[in-house]
Amino acid sequence: MTAVRPVQLRGRFLTAVALLIDGGPPDRPFFAALDAQLRRMPHFLADAPLIIDLEKAPDLERAEDLRRLRDELQQRKLAPFAVQNATSAQIAAAADAGLISVIAGHDAPQRPTRRENTSRAAAPARPQVVNRIVTTPVRSGQSIVAEHGDLVVIGHVASGAELIAGGNIHVYGTMRGRAMAGVHGDENARIFCQSLDAELLAIAGLYRTSENLEHEVRKRSVHIFLQDQRLCVETLA
């Protein structure tokens, strides 16, 4: 006689990724955006258990739409298995598409990326602008920060020194160090140097090192600004 094996039940916690559907049935732009996201982190979501969050898509209740969504996701090596925040009609449709309904747990909303922030209105209130003026030479190894505002240096900035500003940077002296303007993403920030010999120049995260600065602008009075996502260095007068 063969012994019947007892059924073993174990509790399991599982981390799943939730995909938030916004609006009606997912269309081509939605999948294009999803593909772009997946390309950015190709291994992160591969075969990851995935929950479709329907909180913002109350109209998505046709079983065939859900089935199509499930197929599209599976083609992208994702593993959708459930819906959450679904209405009763959606739960029925989901069951038809082979998806169960789970009760939404705590989920940390992914921090919105900066680009979204700028496109959407209602940006947080701007912090008060505090400019900073430095009248002594900035030495190698020093780091001068004007978190919210312009940074003005009257004197030299040595190689190995660092200037960081939320706004513009002005250097009235030879600039041999690094300057990072618009560090909070202000693409209108500019850098002004009386004599340019910098190691690195950056505006809103876009940078150039001394290696790829044109020879003509060296030791000249210049201003540096962003134009069409390019860092431009232009001599002054």
């Binding site: 030495r139 190698s140 190894g141 040595a158 190995g160």
Partner: protein, 283 residues
């Protein structure tokens, strides 16, 4: 006026740190020469070796056989200051406070250094601190209580950049920098191993290049010289050795340090070769 005459003593005793960041630029040689020069002019001077574990000053000063107690013994209370101070045999106004060769920089404490310096301030006009290379504990404590700084620099880029870094520390990580009411440390640059020929050929930076970057007053320019090596090897501060352009340059630097106006001379100790003497300045 003879240089032996005692001049107006400084109102308060001054702590002068000889520092550079980079090693091998001539800090200890300069500390020995400057302290001997000050003593020669009648100031009561003590020179302290802060390079714990790499004791050199006593050799440059020629008193290595007379070291019994050291700076660390005094800081830790194992010896009194009077026991550790070594009186120079050539200059009665000059004393040396050697450091320990067996310990390391962790043996230095801020409180200990302050206590020793305060005690020395009561007796001496000038307290010259010979800083170790680097910007770590030893160097930071050597500069922390300073009133003035002599930043020793060679005319080459890495030395200049390190000196610039040290100037930054002098204006941020020192007692005078932390006290908003105090005057900032008076820092001056001392250019050493200056070689006219190598500068003329573009191998080294000029005085102007260096000062343009450092943006501090120039205390002096010491030519590269065989006299320095000879003085070091015989344990004689270069200003007490045979006359040479290097010793004259140090003497000038000392004059500027005590506030005299002396014109800057830049004479090399290098003898022109026969070829150069024959053909003069054709190049």
């Amino acid at each position: 006026m003879t240089s032996q005459m005692k001049q107006e003593p400084p109102v308060q005793s001054k702590v002068i740190v000889i520092t550079s960041g980079k090693g091998g630029v001539g800090k200890t040689t300069s500390a020995a020469a400057i302290s001997a020069g000050l003593a020669q002019r009648g100031y009561k001077t003590v020179v302290i070796d802060f390079d714990v574990g790499l004791r050199n000053l006593d050799m440059i000063m020629g008193c290595e056989r007379r070291v019994v107690f050291d700076f660390i013994n005094v800081i830790q209370g194992d010896a009194r200051l009077k026991q550790a101070l070594i009186k120079d045999k050539r200059l009665e106004n000059l004393s040396i406070l050697p450091t320990s060769q067996t310990r390391d920089k962790d043996a230095l404490t801020k409180e200990g250094v302050e206590k020793v310096l305060n005690e020395l301030r009561e007796e001496f006009d000038y307290i010259v601190c010979d800083s170790p290379a680097g910007i770590e504990r030893g160097a930071q404590l050597a500069m922390y209580f300073a009133d003035e700084a002599v930043v020793v620099t060679n005319p080459e880029v890495s030395s200049v950049r390190d000196s610039d870094r040290v100037l930054g520390l002098l204006s941020s990580k020192t007692a005078r920098a932390e006290n908003a009411d105090a005057e900032p440390i008076k820092a001056q640059a001392l250019l050493t191993r200056y070689d006219n020929q190598r500068i003329a050929s573009g191998e080294m930076m000029t005085v102007d290049d260096v000062l343009e970057i450092l943006a501090v007053p120039l205390l002096g320019v010491i030519p590269e010289s065989t006299a320095i090596l000879r003085a070091s090897n015989t344990g004689t501060p270069v200003v007490l050795d045979e006359p040479s352009n290097a010793s004259a340059a140090y003497a000038d630097a000392v004059s500027r340090l005590i506030g005299e106006q002396v014109e800057m001379r830049m004479e090399s100790d290098r003898r022109p070769s026969l070829f150069q003497r024959l053909f003069g300045r054709t190049a």
